[in-house]
Point group: C2
Chain length 470, copies 2
């Protein structure tokens, strides 16, 4: 078995000098071939080795993107869009070389239409930056992957997070996009109307396309009125299955819970160390309720009853904003906290999602698979959606750990697929799940996807090697 | 000006005898070229003249669809999928001739997964049939276009209805599809997991594709727990803008209203006659609230306050199930009730949708445009989404009325487009809005859509002439 993260460089060709000259001319200082800059753009949070692009440009406008794309199109040179660099699946790695278009300087909020509960941002705006920007409007943007990702990147991977159980994912919350096509044309997909039946849904097609169908330059998203009341709670359970059963029953009862997160004992240990919390190291649920005062009370009472019926204990409230913030910051930092359990390790994170009735089987099955590992593992996730992550903390230099991790990953994914689930709830395919996508969608569906890819990007310059093998 | 609904038959060619023989051999009695059968399948609720296909087959299984598609593909002969025949935009008309695949006999509910809040049906199952089937599960399917449409057809047009303000449209509620491709292959898009980031979103691409990218054979949709409490209310206003302002404020306040429908005085007159109601003939709102007892009370109180502040009167409750059913049946029959205001007329229904902040301008603008009409007109719609319908009751034999109706329709659509709205919130493009789609999406986006069409259906056999001009 070859090292599974070894990337072939066979398709790479050097940056054409004419292309470099054209980019240097347009971008000036914002064009770089410096090794540090290239290496920074050749990594993400995945276990793959650093795979730098040949050059990086820093776009500040849609026109900048157009110029970079047109230049690369002329030379049929690969293009990779880069937001916050927080991909977990190798989306940003220049496996065929290429030019990375860094969008982090496209960080302006273009409009906030509070009356319509929408706003439009440049692709580099991050979720935290957006929420900071709108904090005085009484509105908020709920989608919250662990990292402070950019809205362009979140759109490209169809991201979600802890609030998805109530507010949906990027699929439900992106209303429209400004996209630069592989030909350097600027199109606007969707609009600001809440619904539309006007032609093919290019918005939903671009959402989740991982930079392979166009460069997302601007994003129009839905906002939500800040709930009148919010309340969070933590409780722990004697067993993983008791905790999971509580969540399943909550969803099946139709309680409109805003967040319901599972963290196993290992994850709690990690966040206790990292975030200085003092939670009991046991299978744990974090809940959050949004609504009017009385609705939050009702939801909380309904959930508390289910918690007790399933033997949950230490039910603790976090009603003060600071307590809630501390709790959710700890949750958002869980991935990084887990990494610190084993200095120098890299994490492989599974991302399966199954129908809620199969969640208990899926997660206890995953636990049994992980129990055979020779390295530390943790389980956590957005269980209200049927989505959870197994975090495998491996030494990337240790070939046997790497191979074992991939085997366990395979088993967990196959278990989910056998339950009518998906190999990825929110992280995307990237480099790591190309084989699983074929198993999940089937060759004929993949052929349709490839047909779309060829139609949009006939020369294959947009993020080649991702979603499909090149 | 030519008659705008005159359809060119120049692209038609006769049904090849070998194709007819193959279909007759497979389908037996379920293959028909009888004029009555063809004419029944050559019409819908649009103002276009009857345009029959060359033949009709009645599919009873996915395999039947595959056989019909493969046979047509061999002869490059057009194929039109037909569900309940309730399209408003000419989707079903055989403008290039062809074979209609009637799916109404594919009317089995394949599975109800109550624990997962999902079910899978054959494409011909209608929304009422589904709700009747699941009525003992405590679950319901909320999407309710006026007609008792099939779930395949509703998927194909990205339909919605009165419940969309709370529950979303087919876009949000279709989890997966079984689709027969133009090559006669069977693919499964999506799955039953609540979310997924696995590859291009073929489900959302097929939803709204109007039979032009594949034949939808089976549909997996989300179901919802029947709310613990439901309550409906009616009230009327001195003016259209008072009524609309009330709805806008309701949405902006974040009240999770389940339904908020506007009906103008003319529409109320029509439904009073048709449904024997005795509502005051004035601009009227219908509301419905879903939730727990106390949540419904809270929502109702919040809305009642807004109604009073905007001068609404005759606030009347319908809490008994029979009263609610009577009210919503009257609403669902509004389109047909309007048709009966003028015997022998046909209706042109606009379907614009705008950001909620522009709704008052959009709807009062539409009213002013309609006031110039020489025929009766009505206004009604799903105003909580920013979506409303102007119903233009024309004599289809009267060229001057037809031309005027098209002019007014144009003006109403252009007004919506100028407000960042869409030409169609839920009816689709079909034959009637092909030009508006170009204005709304732009030529470059249309070119991407055409690229998808060519990739999926290189011979152009799937419902040709719809969405794009042939």
């Amino acid at each position: 078995m070859n090292h599974p993260y070894a990337l072939s460089a066979s398709l790479k060709r050097p940056l054409p000098e004419a292309l470099a000259a054209r980019l240097r001319n347009h971008f000036g200082d914002r064009f770089s071939t410096a090794q540090a800059v290239r290496e920074h753009h050749g990594r993400d949070e995945s276990p793959f080795p650093v795979t730098p692009p040949d050059a990086v440009v820093f776009a500040q406008s849609v026109d900048d993107i157009v110029e970079a794309v047109k230049a690369c199109a002329e030379h049929r040179f690969p293009i990779i869009a880069f937001g916050a660099g927080s991909s977990l699946e190798g989306h940003l790695l220049a496996v065929q070389g290429g030019l990375t278009i860094d969008l982090s300087q496209m960080n302006r909020v273009l409009s906030v239409d509070a009356e319509d509960l929408t706003c439009t941002v440049q692709a580099g705006v991050t979720r935290k930056q957006l929420n900071e920007h709108i904090k005085d409007t009484g509105l908020f943007f709920p989608i919250d992957p662990g990292a402070d990702a950019s809205l362009g990147g979140m759109s490209a991977t169809r991201a979600s997070g802890t609030n998805a159980v109530r507010y949906g994912t990027m699929r439900e919350n992106v209303l429209g996009l400004t996209v630069v096509t592989a030909q350097g044309k600027v199109i606007r997909t969707g609009g600001r109307a809440k619904k539309s039946s006007a032609g093919y849904d290019l918005t939903r097609l671009m959402v989740g396309s991982e930079g392979t169908l166009g460069i997302i330059a601007e994003v129009t998203v839905r906002l939500y009125p800040m709930p009148e009341a919010m309340s969070a709670a933590v409780c722990n359970f004697a067993s993983l299955s008791d905790a999971v059963r509580t969540v399943i029953e909550t969803i099946q009862l139709g309680v409109p819970v805003a967040r319901s997160e599972f963290l196993d004992a290992m994850t709690i240990r990690a966040i206790n160390r990292h975030s200085h919390t003092t939670l009991r190291e046991a299978p744990t649920l974090f809940f959050e309720f949004h609504g009017t005062e009385s609705s939050v009370r009702e939801q909380a009472a309904a959930v508390q009853e289910l918690v007790h019926a399933n033997g949950g204990q230490d039910f603790e409230w976090a009603t003060h904003p600071e307590d809630r913030t501390r709790l959710w910051n700890a949750r958002h930092n869980a991935y990084f906290a887990c990494l610190q359990l084993r200095p120098g390790c890299r994490a492989i994170s599974t991302d399966t999602c199954v129908p809620i009735s199969r969640l208990a089987d899926s997660i206890t099955g995953a636990r049994a698979i992980l129990d055979t590992a020779d390295f530390p593992t943790a389980l956590l996730g957005h269980v209200g959606d049927g989505n959870f992550h197994a975090v495998l903390l491996i030494d990337p230099a240790n070939q046997s750990e790497v191979e074992q991790a991939e085997r366990l990953n395979d088993q967990i994914v196959r278990l989910a697929l056998s339950m009518d689930g998906t190999c990825t709830g929110e992280h995307g395919i990237g480099l790591h799940k190309i084989g699983f996508l074929i198993e999940e969608a089937g060759e004929d569906a993949i052929e349709l996807m490839r047909g779309i890819k060829r139609a949009f990007d006939p020369d294959g310059i947009l993020n080649p090697g991702k979603i499909f093998r090149a």
